[in-house]
Homo-oligomer: 374 residues x 2
């Protein structure tokens, strides 16, 4: 047996984000071990894993003791469980104190506001006082929401009181009249080395990202730099180790921070083909405290389209048409059961003609989910 | 359980070539299953596998019956075993009749010569007549040689007779005074769709490739096109399915075919980062009869350096220096035990300044194997 010098990275979660860590782990020679909910999980189909319950600190700790560093691909593991690992000398990256800001939106809003970072007007609401935010407003679950789940547009106080029945405390935010939504990925290592990628336009439909364009077109260089500066500042502020997505609203000529996610993120998938160093490779480098990789782009533009479950269930047969039509199209299958609206894969195209890339990616996505017929 | 539409590709062999098929298989959603010699094999560390003896037709057939298509990452499996699979309705790509030309150099020379493709003067020799090729000449094993093994420069008849003691029949070839050695990768699908990549300069030391430069510098466009035409002609001639490397000598302004290898090849490793479609993804597309991918380059040049085992055995620690020095350097570890002269990994750099790329790749390789000190 050789290779004892290569570390074992334990990942809590085995969805598509863990799946896309496998390729760079193999290239770097790093051992990947997943803590999966099921052997049928996206990444568990293709990597070493144990099946366990991430709510159970004993199970997670037993797993963690077999790894050199523990990281996450989702925010669902309780922060208290992460703390148990840390109390038992497990190296956890990002740490519980950094990860909390992508687990708890109230704490996230608080730290950003205290540090003069641009946030919407916000308040916590438990029904004990009048909401300080004017209607219509945005109400959010403090934790657990994603892809539009746990986010509501609330027209008046009666609607708000209805929501309280399912969520005893809500985060209320002003409803911004934004021009567009962008996201910036940032990576930071324990040494404090940090790097960002160019900001990405995230095109949303029904609260779900359907397409991304990198670099975000139609926003000024000033705004792009400002977005990257915000990302670097937050990474430093929370002591991030790993990669993080910062989602921002573009409101005229200013930026307002929407969400944080201290892990690889859908808005960074373009980087697999589009950047010299993908977010997945960079995440591994960062948590292993290796020097970060070059985040330059490989072409002028990268367009990524999410394949959402639709009428078609066969995700392989479309290759016959799509690969013949667009020989430079890159497909990433998550191997999840196709359900309506579920992200089951994505496609990416990079090049120098944005209109062509967008059209090819849109066609591919529509064809895969059955909007365009065979 | 979902995903029954995704085929199972069985690979005979689990070395670094199989290892580098894992990433594109995961992206495409294709199931990879390896027939390994040992669970410690390079690719077996990171993919589903069975351990077996590829000389045993029953074992290989039992494995093949669990797959939708069988392919190879080395030529060591006997052609007779491949024929057993075919007689049992296993889909084998490339077929035994195509694969034989990278298993048997005598048959390779014969078919190329019969089809007016440029080969060195050659003859078979068993000691029963005078060698038809003038000394000094090249003697080769008919099968089984690679990386300079099974190839001898022979000064005179007494040396030749010595060789006959270990090889009852030898392939003799004229010793060419070549300017450089290049290789061309070609892919071909069962439909007959074919594609080549730009020709690659292979820089050799002691019969082992130490660096490749793509596209091969210092050769004319006419020669480059000629090399690609030769590759396409051979692919068609032998009914190739999959990818194949054709190694050629550049002798002044003409090309002479040296070797064929009907599988992904060291001279095509640059394509992982350097081409829109890597040789490994293309091999999967070809054997699955999917439309082939774009073989354009992602930058002006791609330089690949083989990491050969040297003084250092720790292949992870060098990352600290190398990644800080060259943030765009890409590493591929094979996770093989480090032995003197053994290929244990490779590094690639792509960009537009060839001199810089060569210098960074050379430094990285020297640093990893201990020629340059820490």
């Amino acid at each position: 047996m050789s290779g004892a010098e290569f570390p074992i990275v334990g990942v809590i979660g085995a969805g598509q984000l863990a799946r896309m860590m496998i390729a760079p782990a193999i290239a770097l020679g790093v051992n990947l071990k997943l803590f999966a909910a099921s052997s049928e999980d996206s990444a568990a189909l293709s990597a070493e894993h144990v099946v366990g319950n991430f709510l159970n600190p004993d199970e997670v700790l037993a797993f963690a003791k077999t790894c050199d560093v523990i990281t996450f691909e989702h925010e669902l593991i309780p922060n208290s469980v992460i703390k148990v690992l840390e109390q038992n000398q497990v190296v956890v990256r990002p740490s519980s104190s950094a990860f909390i800001y992508s687990q708890n939106k109230a704490q996230m809003r608080k730290i950003l506001q205290e540090n003069n970072l641009p946030v919407p007007n916000w308040d916590l609401y438990s029904g004990d006082k009048d909401p300080r935010i004017p209607f219509p407003l945005i109400a959010k679950s403090i934790s657990g929401g994603y892809d539009g789940r746990g986010v509501w547009v609330v027209a008046d106080e009666s609607e708000l009181r209805e929501l309280l029945k399912i969520q005893p405390t809500l985060l209320l935010e002003e409803k911004l009249n934004f021009t567009s939504e962008i996201a910036v990925m940032v990576a930071r290592s324990p040494h404090g080395q940090a790097a960002t990628w160019p900001p990405t336009l995230t095109v949303q439909r029904d609260g779900i990202c359907i397409q991304t364009i990198t670099p975000a077109p139609d926003i000024s260089d000033t705004l792009k730099i400002s977005a990257q500066e915000i990302a670097l500042k937050i990474a430093d502020l929370i002591g991030l180790v790993g990669v993080m997505a910062i989602e921002l609203f573009v409101v005229g000529d200013r930026l307002v921070i929407n969400e944080l996610a201290a892990r690889p993120h859908n808005s960074g998938h373009w980087s697999i083909e589009g950047s010299v160093t993908s977010q997945f490779e960079q995440h591994l480098r960062a948590i292993l405290d290796l020097p970060l990789g070059d985040t330059s782009m490989r072409a002028d533009f990268a367009v990524m389209g999410n394949v959402l479950g639709g009428a078609k269930t066969n995700m392989y047969r479309p290759y016959l048409h799509l690969f013949a039509r667009t020989p430079y199209l890159k497909v990433h299958q998550y191997r999840k059961e196709v359900k309506a609206g579920r992200k089951v894969g994505h496609v990416t195209a990079i090049g120098n003609n944005l209109a062509t890339l967008q059209s090819e990616v849109s066609h591919a996505v529509d064809y895969m989910n059955g909007v365009v017929d065979e």
